[in-house]
Structure formats: structure tokens, C-alpha cells
């Protein structure tokens, strides 16, 4: 489903403090995977995840999403691709503070133009899976960190994207909330078949994924 061939990424290309952030990455992610990009801090996990998520460009090599090359898209096309095909979960929850939990979860569906009824049903469905259905009318800042991150996951998963990219989703959570979140994400993966790719060096994430792609210094060292 996602295929990377010979992907290279430099920061400050050609300058004296050049960073070769991704070195010759070849990688395939299949539909329905529950995988992890793992490795020490600064090894390129975020850079690789951003490249897959069409958030950032690469300097050479190709990335395909279902046969479609995404490395050559324009800025606007990438924005729409992210909206329609990707779901994102970041380290901090990044919910819209003035919208209720329900509106936050439905936000991307709304942007994609789903009908209000469809959005409402779907929001309730994922809220139940993520055990936040009794918080739907609350504002995000009245929720605990763990609950807020589950709202962020719900928002990413609600519009049924092809893949969810989760960068350090447990970094701000304690162990109990981390385990709970990983369990729920695993259930989403199993019950809804969503493809999820993590970037993390957190032990709870390592414990629950099915595939670990180990990076070091910008290259894949173990798969």
C-alpha cells in the first residue's frame, strides 16, 4: 500500500552543517499493518513519518500511496491528500480549544464534506471504541491528557483514512494511559482494519505493535 524506494532527505543541503536525515530508505507498508518506526532520538523517525504523510518533501527517491506517486505533488495537492487519505496523531493533542469533543472528532469529516448525520453516527461509533462517549459535549481543556489524546486519535480515525501516522503519541502520557491508548489503537486496527504507523521509542508502543522497523542515523538497520 505504501512503498518507498531509495528515499533520501537532507537538511541544509550543500551547507557545511548538512544533515543527511534519511539515507536510502526502501520500505513497504501493507494495508492493515500495525507497525512502528523505532530508534534513538534524532535517528530520523519523524522525518520519515512526515515524508510518508506528505507533510514534507524528500530530495530523491519515490513514495507511492496505492500506486500514486506522492513525492511530485504540489503543496495544495499534498494538503488535499493529507485531508482525504491520512490521519495524524501528534505528541501533543492539538485539539481545537473552542470546539466540543464531538466537533473536534467530526472536524476532518466536516472538512471533507460528509453529511451531518453521517458525521454524528461515526463520531459516536469511534467515541465508544475509545471510551470517550460520555465526554462528547465537553470542551477539550476539561479533559485529562489521556482523554485528550484519545479524542485526537478519534479525530484521525473518524474519517477512515488509508493510514494513520502517529508520532510519539504516548510521549505526554503516563504508563496507565499509554497502555490504555495502545490497547484501544490496537482494537481499532483489528476491528476497523486501519493501517497505523507509529514513530516512537516508548516501551509500551514497542510492546504492542506487530512490526518494528529499526532506524539508526537515517537508515533502516532492522525490520
Amino acid at each position: 500500500m505504501i512503498q518507498l524506494t531509495d528515499v533520501q532527505k537532507y537538511f541544509y543541503r550543500g551547507e557545511s552543517r548538512e544533515v543527511h536525515a534519511l539515507k536510502n530508505i526502501n520500505l513497504t507498508i501493507e494495508k492493515g499493518e500495525f507497525s512502528l518506526l523505532n530508534g534513538p532520538s534524532g535517528c530520523g523517525k519523524t522525518t520519515l513519518l512526515n515524508a510518508i504523510g506528505a507533510l514534507d518533501s524528500v530530495d530523491s527517491g519515490k513514495i507511492y500511496l496505492d500506486e500514486k506517486e506522492i513525492t511530485t505533488l504540489s503543496e495544495d495537492e499534498r494538503t488535499l491528500l493529507r485531508l482525504n487519505e491520512m490521519g495524524f496523531v501528534f505528541q501533543s493533542y492539538n485539539l481545537v480549544p473552542v470546539l466540543s469533543v464531538e466537533e473536534n472528532i467530526g472536524f476532518i469529516m466536516k472538512l471533507r464534506g460528509f453529511d451531518d448525520d453521517v458525521i454524528k453516527n461515526r463520531v459516536h461509533e469511534v467515541a465508544e471504541l475509545l471510551e470517550i462517549e460520555n465526554k462528547l459535549q465537553s470542551l477539550p481543556n476539561t479533559l485529562s491528557g489521556g482523554q485528550q489524546q484519545r479524542v485526537a486519535v478519534a479525530r484521525a480515525v473518524a474519517s477512515k483514512p488509508k493510514i494513520i501516522l502517529a508520532d510519539e503519541p504516548t510521549a505526554n502520557l503516563d504508563s496507565k494511559n499509554s497502555i490504555a491508548l495502545m490497547n484501544m489503537m490496537r482494537r481499532l486496527n483489528e476491528e476497523e482494519g486501519v493501517t497505523i504507523l507509529f514513530a516512537s521509542h516508548d516501551e509500551y508502543v514497542i510492546e504492542s505493535v506487530r512490526r518494528i522497523i529499526k532506524l539508526n542515523d537515517g537508515g533502516i538497520v532492522e525490520d
Partner: protein, 402 residues
């Protein structure tokens, strides 16, 4: 989708309530002050114009074409009575008066001053311009030897109701003649007349000067027609038919000047509004720069974000406008009915023919113009904040969290 954006804009505008309120108050206060100043300025000019029209030249005045250069009794309108009668027949003429005026010297035992005696028909003047309302002291009556005097002239001559004044001038045969007048009332009309005029009964003056009762120096007309002047000029080619502004270039200048003052005040207020909204929007956007970055990251198109920020600025502007319009209207209504009392400056104002209490005009144009200007100011003020979002790289924002 639009509803979501509307909601975001509305909630964000009022999330930071104290900041938004501050700008709203700033807009409202400066706007209502501007409206009041505009109303007073306009009220001042229209008051002067109104008084000059009512007491002097109406919308249009007719003179012998030589009279305004050489004001002597050879240059009168010969058939004024006939012209007055035929003007009164016209449906586009609301009121007509004819006056006989002569320059000379007024004197008391101790003081003297150049002045004009104006022969009038009291009832006609009341119908023409509510002449009775100009009376500030004494009684509105003329009789055989009675006279009404302009307030400033009364001051110069140090006379009051009941005083005697001797007026001397050349009659139609060229002889210097004098008449004794008794002051019955004091009038406050327009600048020039207040300084120079003594009003007497027209018939009395005709006899004194030895002229026929058909002549006049001026025929003044009240009308709303804009074509009457041209029509009359064609009908009476031997006379000069002049409209209000030609006769009062000073008032025209004053009107233009007030217009410039108003424009400057308007511009300053709109600038204040612009800077206020710019400030609050800039800070608000900077505050939420992460939020916008995340929205871009998850795929929200820039045009929706732009729309949201625009709406937010509009909310602030429009709420400010509504509050300002209400405050401004209340203040204008007050100034319209009770006026602005400037009695401590009354000396200066009165010598300009102004009242010591100024009443504001109210015009819907004030509100329409301000609305359009505030709307434009709101829309322009988001350009700079929006640039911040447009050049935002979502990756940088996401990275900043770690």
C-alpha cells in the same frame, strides 16, 4: 462547512473576551465621538445657513443688477410689488418678501455706528422665515417710529429696549435726512445683519425716503426648486438672480471647511479602528499559530482558514460598529434635542452669528459611511495576520512541540 467556520470565528472572537471587548469599546467610543462631532459640525453649518436664509436672502434673492456694487436708491428694483405678486403665484415658490434697505449712520447721544435700515413687512417676514423666533429681548412690533435692532449693533450703540436712536441718510432727492427711532426689540439673526441692521416698517421708510411703494432693494424667495434660479433669470434679465451660495461665499467656505474637518476626524477614527482590529487579530493569530499549523497539517485548506480569520475580524468590527452606532445615536439624539452648551465661549460664537447652544444634525449617511469604512478596515486589518499563517510551515509548528 460554512457553519463550522462561522462557529470557529465567533467562538474565537469571544474566547479572548477581555481583549475583544477592549477593541470593541475602543471602536465604539471613538466612533460615537466622531458621530457626535460630525453632527455638531453639520448642525453648526446648517444652523448658520438656515438663519441666513430665513432672515436674509432665502434660497434665491433678486436685486437690481447694479445694486450690489452701488447701494443707492437709484439702483432699486422698480416694479418690485408686481414681481412679488407674480412670484407668489408660482407653485414652486414657497414664500416671498420684498425689503427696502438703506445705509446710513445710527447715533445715540454718545455712540454712533454705520448701519442699514431695513424696511420690512412684519407679517410677511414671519411667514417667510419665522422672524419672530429671532427676537431675544423686547417685543416684536414696529409701528410708526418703532425699530428692531440687531444684537451686536445694539451692543455697539449701547442701546436697549426703549432707547432712542437717530438714523440719518440720504433720501431720494439727495438730501440728508434723519429719523428718530425707538427700539422695541432686539434681534439675533445672522452674522452680518446682527452687526448692522435696524428693522423698521417698510411703508414708514418709503415715506421717509420719498420713494414709491412699489420699489424694493431686495426680493427674497424660499423655494425647494433647483431650477427656479435659471427660470427667474430668464424671466427677469434686467435683474440679478442669485442663489444662496453665490450670495454667501463665506458660508460656502465654511461648509467646505467643516467637510474637511469631518473627513479628517473620520479618517483618524477609521485608522484607530484599523489599528485596533489589526492588533487584536495579530495577537490572536500568533496565540493560535500552533492551532493553525495543525489544521494545515491535517489538511485544512488555507482558504478556509483565511475565511475564518476574516469572519473573526468582521465580528469584532461589526460588534464595535453596532455598539458605536447605538452610543453615537444616543449622543446625537441628546445633542439634537438639548444641544451642546458652549456658553463659556458664547462671545466668540455669537459674533459669528452662532448660537451659544449648538444642536447636532443627524443623518443616516453618517451611519452608512461609518459602516462601510469599518467593514473595509476590518477586512484590510487581517492581511498582515494572514500572511503569518500563509507562510506557516506545519512541520515547524509540529516540531516546536518537542
Amino acid at each position: 462547512m460554512f457553519r463550522l467556520i462561522l462557529k470557529l470565528a465567533w467562538k474565537n472572537a469571544f474566547l479572548r473576551l477581555s481583549r475583544t471587548l477592549l477593541v470593541v469599546i475602543m471602536i465604539a467610543v471613538s466612533m460615537s465621538m466622531m458621530l457626535s462631532i460630525q453632527g455638531i459640525y453639520d448642525g453648526m453649518t446648517s444652523n448658520l445657513i438656515d438663519k441666513t436664509k430665513r432672515s436674509d436672502c432665502g434660497e434665491i434673492s433678486l436685486y437690481n443688477s447694479h445694486y450690489r456694487l452701488n447701494k443707492n436708491l437709484d439702483n432699486v428694483i422698480k416694479d418690485a410689488k408686481g414681481i412679488e405678486a407674480s412670484l407668489n403665484e408660482r407653485p414652486d415658490v414657497q414664500a416671498v418678501v420684498r425689503r427696502l434697505s438703506v445705509d446710513g449712520l445710527s447715533a445715540t447721544a454718545r455712540k454712533s455706528a454705520f448701519s442699514s435700515v431695513v424696511g420690512i413687512e412684519l407679517d410677511d417676514e414671519i411667514a417667510f422665515g419665522r422672524f419672530d423666533q429671532f427676537l431675544v429681548d423686547g417685543k416684536l412690533e414696529l409701528g410708526k417710529r418703532g425699530a428692531l435692532i440687531g444684537k451686536e449693533l445694539a451692543k455697539t450703540l449701547k442701546v436697549h429696549v426703549g432707547s432712542k436712536v437717530i438714523f440719518s441718510t440720504q433720501d431720494s432727492s439727495g438730501e440728508i435726512n434723519a429719523m428718530a427711532l425707538k427700539i422695541r426689540g432686539i434681534m439675533q439673526t445672522s452674522m452680518v445683519l446682527d452687526r448692522s441692521a435696524l428693522y423698521v416698517d417698510r411703508r414708514h421708510l418709503e415715506r421717509f425716503l420719498g420713494v414709491s411703494d412699489t420699489v424694493a432693494t431686495q426680493i427674497a424667495i424660499r423655494t425647494e426648486s433647483s431650477t427656479l434660479q435659471a427660470t427667474l433669470q430668464k424671466a427677469y434679465p434686467q435683474l440679478s438672480v442669485m442663489d444662496f451660495l453665490e450670495l454667501n461665499p463665506m458660508l460656502k467656505q465654511m461648509q467646505d471647511m467643516m467637510h474637511i474637518f469631518n473627513s479628517i476626524t473620520f479618517f483618524i477614527v477609521i485608522l484607530v479602528v484599523f489599528i485596533g482590529i489589526l492588533g487584536v487579530m495579530y495577537v490572536s493569530v500568533l496565540d493560535r499559530i500552533r492551532e493553525f499549523g495543525i489544521m494545515r497539517a491535517v489538511g485544512m485548506e488555507y482558504k478556509y482558514i483565511r475565511r475564518e480569520v476574516l469572519l473573526e475580524a468582521l465580528f469584532v468590527g461589526v460588534v464595535g460598529y453596532v455598539v458605536g452606532a447605538i452610543l453615537g445615536l444616543l449622543s446625537l439624539l441628546y445633542l439634537h434635542h438639548y444641544g451642546l452648551n458652549l456658553s463659556q465661549f458664547s462671545e466668540g460664537l455669537a459674533s459669528f452669528g452662532l448660537d451659544t447652544v449648538l444642536y447636532a444634525d443627524i443623518s443616516p449617511i453618517y451611519f452608512i459611511n461609518t459602516f462601510l469604512a469599518i467593514l473595509s478596515a476590518s477586512l484590510l486589518s487581517v492581511l498582515l495576520p494572514l500572511r503569518k499563517i500563509k507562510h506557516l510551515n506545519p512541520i515547524e509548528v509540529i516540531k516546536a512541540e518537542t
